[in-house]
Amino acid sequence: MSTFLGIPRARVAGPAADVAVGQLSGDRPFPAAAHEALADSRLRRNLAHATSTIRAKRAAVVEEVPDWEALRDAGSAIKADVMARLPELLEELEANVQSRGGVVHWARDAAEANAIVTRLVRATGAKEVVKVKSMATQEIGLNEALEAAGIQAHETDLAELIVQLGHDKPSHILVPAIHRGRAEIRDIFARQMPGVDPALTDEPRVLAAAARKYLREVFLRAEVAVSGANFAVADTGTLTVVESEGNGRMCLTLPRTLITVMGIEKVVPTWADLEVFLQLLPRSSTGERMNPYTSTWTGVHTVDGSADGVPDGPQEFHLVLLDNGRTRALADELGRTALHCIRCSACLNVCPVYERTGGHAYGSVYPGPIGAVLTPLLTGLTGGHDPNDSLPYASSLCGACYDVCPVKINLPDLLVQLRAQHTEAHTESHRLPSAEATAMKAAAWTMADAGRFAKAGRAATLARHVIRRGRPVLPLPPPLNGWTASRDAPTPPAETFRDWWTRTRGTR
């Protein structure tokens, strides 16, 4: 391991997540995927409309909070504290969940988590499960694993349902069907939703009502639910799900068995810490003061709290704690701050790259700025041209993401750092440096000395003779031709600044 930017000996990174299981990688690099997305005018329109709407909503409700910056500072510090004390907090969480009648499972990776959930569902005899929208279960590809075991998973969040019925992939953390417009959603429902009224219109209200009618029957008969968790409180053993539609409440309340899959980084130390995140998350995420429903539960509940009392909600509760590359990210001093993410998606909504390419271009279930750092941190970088190697470059480093992040993750800094890890992984895995690395080294050598740099600058002024009307006389090689494809090149001046200075003022 490199000692310069890699992980010093004292920290040992956990294994990378396997990109063959679940959905942490696409099949082609970002620029190739973006090429297609940029040409899709309907997608572009849907994204521009949706992201500008949510940006305005967020800005309005954040403006209302006088201590917003103090809340961000607190959120950031609580998460740093969590990472520093992660083993103790997870053990505390486990003990408290178990003492309240829950069962805690640990999963090293996606395959193990899928196997645990499949085994638990099989043990109940159920052939179907209802699901609350969950990034963790999308990440591990749980639905596919259950399907392979003959168990049908019903996504119940409206956007997830749209994605599932459309045999599509999610493209946003909060609104997985953000890439779809109402007319497309209407068509998907008309084609794929069992028992749907054929006279369905594309009014959002009508579409939501159709989903209610269809899923109501599913909720009433479901025996097993699978959820994620927004937060888990170590000192009480309390789990939290933040949602809007009530599908979460249905899943967390009606079935007999509840299985929650949660990344190990989602723990918070105390009940009082939730006060910070329950203020930061809804305003950053849906742009609401508070989302319609937040549910918290602690193990298994009865009405009077006694073991044989009238049941209130599931009487069997399993919590699956998932690593899947998180301990790899945790070993990276800067990278571990990406684990602070509370999945609000504010960074996606303000990202000028995401706004134009949408989420599918990132390949992973985690798109946008946070995805461009979290995904390669979980899966590792090969140093070659694997799809995830392209992600840290999918940003203009404009910094809008950092400004809105409720837990102040320095995303531009992380992107820059991952780029360095990528080029260094290339150096380690290839005998010959890349053309780019060679060019960079040459530039650095030239620029390390003013004399050499002055000569190079003078040489560059000669290039003015090979640029005609903004285009070079001879075609440029890639990637420089990417510049002249859409932009004129500047004509170099007749004289560099330093030559002008020396000519007019001498060498001082």
């Binding site: 709407t53 949510i54 809340l71 999963a107 779809r180 009530g246 937040t294 918290t296 704690l321 690593d323």
Partner: protein
């Protein structure tokens, strides 16, 4: 090695640099400007509830009969004559209804699906966010009853209205199953256009008392 031992071991190895747990700045405002039960908070709660498309009815005196009349009117205007209610609500609250089902835990989800409304109290309300909190106790009932019926009438007493989220959390017992409700169920999943009414109660009526 078990998965548990291995994952915990990996975490400890990843934290080989023993990062210091940073001090947590708590400068954020925890308490509100107004004390619980003050008229300003009732006004703010009403404003925020209405902003998220809940219906609000105000009842001046904390008399259970008056509350019952308000509940009855709210349901009658929606042509609802039947409601479920938990054991701990005052009987007067549902006194104006033709058909009241008291939940003793005997109702299945399908039974509840056939009942059009539910009448409960709340343990805390948060003015700034327009939130009512249910705790599964005698006044709020088990979670299913406030979820499956399509109309939820919730009685909030002024003394239970706090200004901020931290004040509410401090009053709540995390060992209870808690549901924070801010308006009727809603979705913004289609073009970020907010639509009220999905799987949870599509109508939320909050009776603010005092």
């Amino acid at each position: 090695m078990t998965a548990r031992e291995e994952v915990l071991g990996r975490i400890r190895s990843a934290l080989g640099d023993r990062p210091a747990a940073p001090p947590i700045p708590r400068e954020c405002l925890r308490g509100g400007v107004h004390s619980p039960g003050s008229p300003e908070l009732a006004l703010q709660l009403v404003d925020r509830l209405e902003d998220y498309r809940a219906t609000v009815v105000r009842v001046g005196a904390a008399d259970d009969g008056d509350i019952g009349r308000a509940v009855g009117d709210a349901l009658a205007s929606r042509e609802i004559g039947q409601a479920v209610t938990p054991r701990g609500t005052p009987r007067e609250w549902t006194g104006w209804l033709a058909d009241v089902v008291v939940d003793e835990g005997q109702l299945s989800a399908r039974d509840l699906d056939a009942i059009p409304a539910v009448v409960t109290g709340a343990v805390v309300a948060i003015a700034e966010t327009g939130t009512i909190v249910l705790d599964g106790g005698p006044l709020c009932g088990r979670r299913a009853i406030t979820l499956v019926p399509d109309t939820h009438v919730c009685v909030v007493r002024a003394r239970d209205i706090v200004q901020t989220v931290p004040e509410a959390l401090a009053r709540l017992d995390p060992q209870r199953p808690l549901t924070f409700v801010s308006g009727p169920s809603a979705t913004s999943d289609i073009e970020l256009d907010r639509v009220e009414g999905v799987h949870g109660p599509r109508t939320l009526v909050v009776v603010v008392v005092g």
